[in-house]
């Protein structure tokens, strides 16, 4: 009997083609769309091209009908709220800049959804991510960049473990986006030319600050001062959650040279700004570090290329991981602005070694 594969479908072209390919390969495909965003946010987002809307679910349902596999909408709002949204809000309140897609993958798609998959008798979970999984001759699973470098999403998947990779399928890993759209057209899928969603799915209008303010209690918002590098107050602000390290625009400060956010101090509410040059870090520390192949961790400092943001080239660096799942990363050359809260992902060539969440920059 063919393997049963639970495919997470958003209604977009990628996950639709992923499901269709698996169906064509003869797998017992079960499509699911996840209800994730809470209702008020969904309503606010309804007119916009975000995921999780009723129209998106209908797009996914049409693909399932066309490709003749069962499809269901599952309600994971409670888990998404507790494990992704609360984390997102908490990170902003703590002066960090979170990456909820990483958390959603770690907590929902490859953890909570896997439980559901097993409950439904499935052997695998599949998604439309652009990344590849390979099994080496030693039996170990490797997570690799997608063939289409411009679409590669391996950054968001760094936390996947051997066990998770063993039961995961990424059918699009070897395809380009153009090939995926072409395949969708050839299969007659109605969403072949649907535009991509760029925003965070649960934040209407991309208004992070407003979202955090609606979800946080008033006492959690930390107002304070904007300081220069010498500690002089330049202005006041209404909350540290409105700032991101490396940010230039919207500081409300006039100065001779462009100023950037260097540091956010959530305890005092101070936001320190400085010139561009002051941002260049020589390294960083990371927490909640996980390695795709845990045996690598014991091997002492490792040479790797490190991505500190999704849309940022990987930088050569040395990574030292301690037993408390923390890492120190030293760049080979002075790096760019390091933003606490973002994921930092360790690569060796096309292979994802692991990663963690940035705690702070190491300054020169």
């Amino acid at each position: 009997m063919s393997a049963r594969v639970l495919v997470a479908m958003s209604g977009g072209v990628d996950s639709s083609v992923a499901a269709a390919i698996l169906r064509e390969q003869g797998h017992d495909v079960v499509g699911v769309a996840m209800r994730l965003a809470p209702e008020p946010e969904r309503r606010a987002a309804r007119t916009r091209a975000t995921c999780c809307s009723h129209e998106d679910f209908e797009d996914a349902r049409r693909v399932a009908e066309r490709m003749d596999f069962p499809f269901y909408v599952v309600d994971l709002r409670a888990e998404f709220g507790a494990r992704v949204i609360d984390n997102f809000v908490g990170e902003y309140l703590a002066g960090r800049t979170p990456n909820p897609c990483v958390m959603c993958n770690r907590e929902i798609k490859f953890d909570r959804l896997w439980e559901r998959a097993r409950a439904l008798g499935a052997d695998f979970v599949a998604t439309g991510h652009y990344a590849r999984i390979e099994r080496g001759s030693d039996g170990r699973f490797r997570l690799l960049r997608a063939a289409d470098a411009s679409k590669d999403q391996s950054y968001f998947l760094f936390s996947l473990t051997q066990a998770e990779l063993s039961r995961t399928m990424f059918p699009l890993g070897a395809m380009t986006k153009a090939e995926v759209r072409g395949r969708a057209r050839a299969l007659g899928l109605a969403n072949a030319d649907k535009p991509e969603s760029q925003e965070i799915c649960f934040v209407p209008d991309n208004d992070y600050a407003g979202f955090v303010e609606r979800r946080a209690s008033g006492g959690q918002l930390r107002a304070g001062k904007i300081l220069d590098s010498n500690g002089n107050a330049l202005a006041t602000h209404s909350g540290v959650h409105r700032f991101t390290v490396g940010q230039r625009r919207g500081l409300g400060v006039a100065a001779g040279e462009p100023l950037y956010v260097r540091e956010i101090r959530p305890e005092s509410g101070d936001v320190v700004v400085g010139p561009r040059a002051a941002l260049n870090a020589v390294g960083l520390t990371a927490r909640e570090v996980s390695m795709v192949d845990p045996s690598i961790r014991q091997a002492g400092p490792i040479r790797a290329e490190v991505k500190i943001r999704y849309r940022h080239p990987a930088l050569p660096a040395t990574v030292t991981i301690d037993s408390a799942r923390r890492a120190e990363v030293r760049f080979a050359a002075a790096g760019p602005a390091v933003t606490p809260g973002q994921a930092c992902v360790f690569y060796r060539g096309d292979e994802v070694l692991g990663g963690g969440f940035i705690e702070r920059a190491i300054e020169a």
């Binding site: 079960v30 769309a33 209800r35 809470p38 209702e39 009723h54 679910f57 349902r61 069962p70 269901y72 909408v73 599952v74 309600d75 709002r77 409670a78 888990e79 709220g81 507790a82 494990r83 909570r112 439980e115 559901r116 097993r118 409950a119 439904l120 008798g121």
Partner: protein, 390 residues
């Protein structure tokens, strides 16, 4: 082949209804309002169907108005009764009712009517004493379900009907889930309005009826031509009405044998589930319940997972109601009965019907027990946040 155990959502069409539909579509249809002989034939067929439906509930044919279904009949009853309510501004209902009662009443509330929603007991029964206590001379309408769709509880309608008559209020009974399952006489106890739905008893979806007792005046809601004795404009759904008529006749004739068969099968299902799934709980009263409906709380699992897993194994049941996106919401009936949100999320409705076979019960029992074991191990409830969504 799947095993269909969702008759309360809609019963498969009975063979008599399918044959009548085929006959009508093959050339026996027409517009009953036309003067020519095709029209006359259509009119005869429509009136025969009206008589068949009337007979199922002990009514006179002229007391039956065909509608597009139970939902329109409920809307018609409520809006029609309240349009001529005069100074009476109170409506009594319960928290258990179908959305086609609760939604129009919610709308009436915004127009100044006072809606009294009687709380059911823990078994899903509406206490007649509470309804009677709420009745006063300002009450325009009492609207209640005779059989609850989710848990199958049967309303003790007689004292309520008598009290409503004494108070001068209109008494509307939603019998969509009752007709064809239990013996009904619309005049005993005396109802003023009664809702019927064809596809719950083996007719086609898209047709229903409202019984309007002779002598009761309510305002028509769909205006136009003089069809249905000027109570409901529009060319009637002749094919659907004829199928409804023969299905009602077949359901009435087979009622006692079907009831006994279903009672035996449902008892076997319940006993088997209790033996295989420790802690499974029946929601609804032990007595005064239609035998076909088993609403069950399954320990340690999400109903949503059970529902999907069972469907993948070919057993079709239901849970609460579907939202617009196609996801399931916990049953408002169970919540009104005092079940927690977690309990409601762990509950499924199994509903048997006229074509359920004993072999299907045996097969379904094995599947449900096996699936429950798998789901409870794979997705343990303790680890899952199932509280209210913020």
């Amino acid at each position: 082949m799947s095993i269909y155990l969702d008759h309360n959502a809609g019963a498969p069409a009975r063979p008599e209804a399918i044959a009548a539909t085929a006959r009508m579509l093959a050339g026996a249809d027409g517009n009953p309002a036309s003067v020519h002989r095709t029209g006359q034939r259509a009119r005869r067929a429509l009136e025969q169907a009206r008589a068949q439906v009337a007979k199922l509930i002990g009514a006179a044919p002229r007391e039956i108005v065909f509608t597009s279904g139970g939902t329109e009949a409920n809307n018609f009853a409520i809006s029609g009764a309240l349009a001529s309510a005069g100074k009476r501004r109170r409506v009594i209902t319960s928290a258990l009712e179908h959305s086609s009662i609760l939604a129009p009443l919610g709308e009436s509330e915004t127009r100044g009517f006072e809606i009294v929603r009687i709380a059911p007991d823990g078994d899903g029964r509406v206490p007649p004493a509470a309804v009677i206590a709420a009745l006063d001379d300002a009450t325009a309408l009492v609207t209640l379900g005779l059989v609850n769709a989710e848990v199958g509880s049967i309303l003790d309608a007689t004292p309520i009907a008598e009290a409503a008559a004494r108070a001068g209020a209109i008494f509307h009974l939603d019998a969509a889930q009752a007709a064809g399952r239990i013996a009904i006489n619309a005049h005993q106890p005396r109802c003023d309005l009664m809702t019927l739905s064809a596809h719950k008893l083996g007719g086609l979806a898209g047709v229903g009826a409202l019984f309007i007792r002779a002598g009761i005046t309510i305002a028509p809601q769909i205006l136009g031509g003089p069809q249905e004795a000027a109570m409901r404009a529009g060319t009637p759904n002749l094919v659907g009405a004829v199928a409804f008529g023969v299905a009602a006749e077949a359901a009435g004739a087979a009622m006692e044998t079907e009831r006994a068969r279903i009672e035996t099968m449902a008892a076997a299902m319940l006993a088997g589930l209790r033996a295989g799934i420790p802690g499974v709980r029946l929601n609804g009263p032990r007595d005064a319940r239609v035998a076909n409906t088993l609403n069950l709380t399954f320990p340690g699992v999400l109903g949503e997972s059970m529902l999907i897993a069972l469907d993948l194994e070919g057993v079709e049941v239901s849970m609460g109601s579907a939202c617009a996106a196609g996801a399931v919401e916990p049953s408002h009936v169970l919540l009104a009965m005092g079940r927690s949100a977690a309990e409601a999320r762990s509950s499924l409705r199994i509903s048997l019907g006229w074509n359920t076979a004993p072999a299907e019960i045996d097969a379904a029992l094995a599947v449900i027990t096996r699936v429950w074991r798998r789901v409870s191990q794979a997705e343990p409830l303790g680890a899952i946040a199932i509280g209210a969504v913020r």
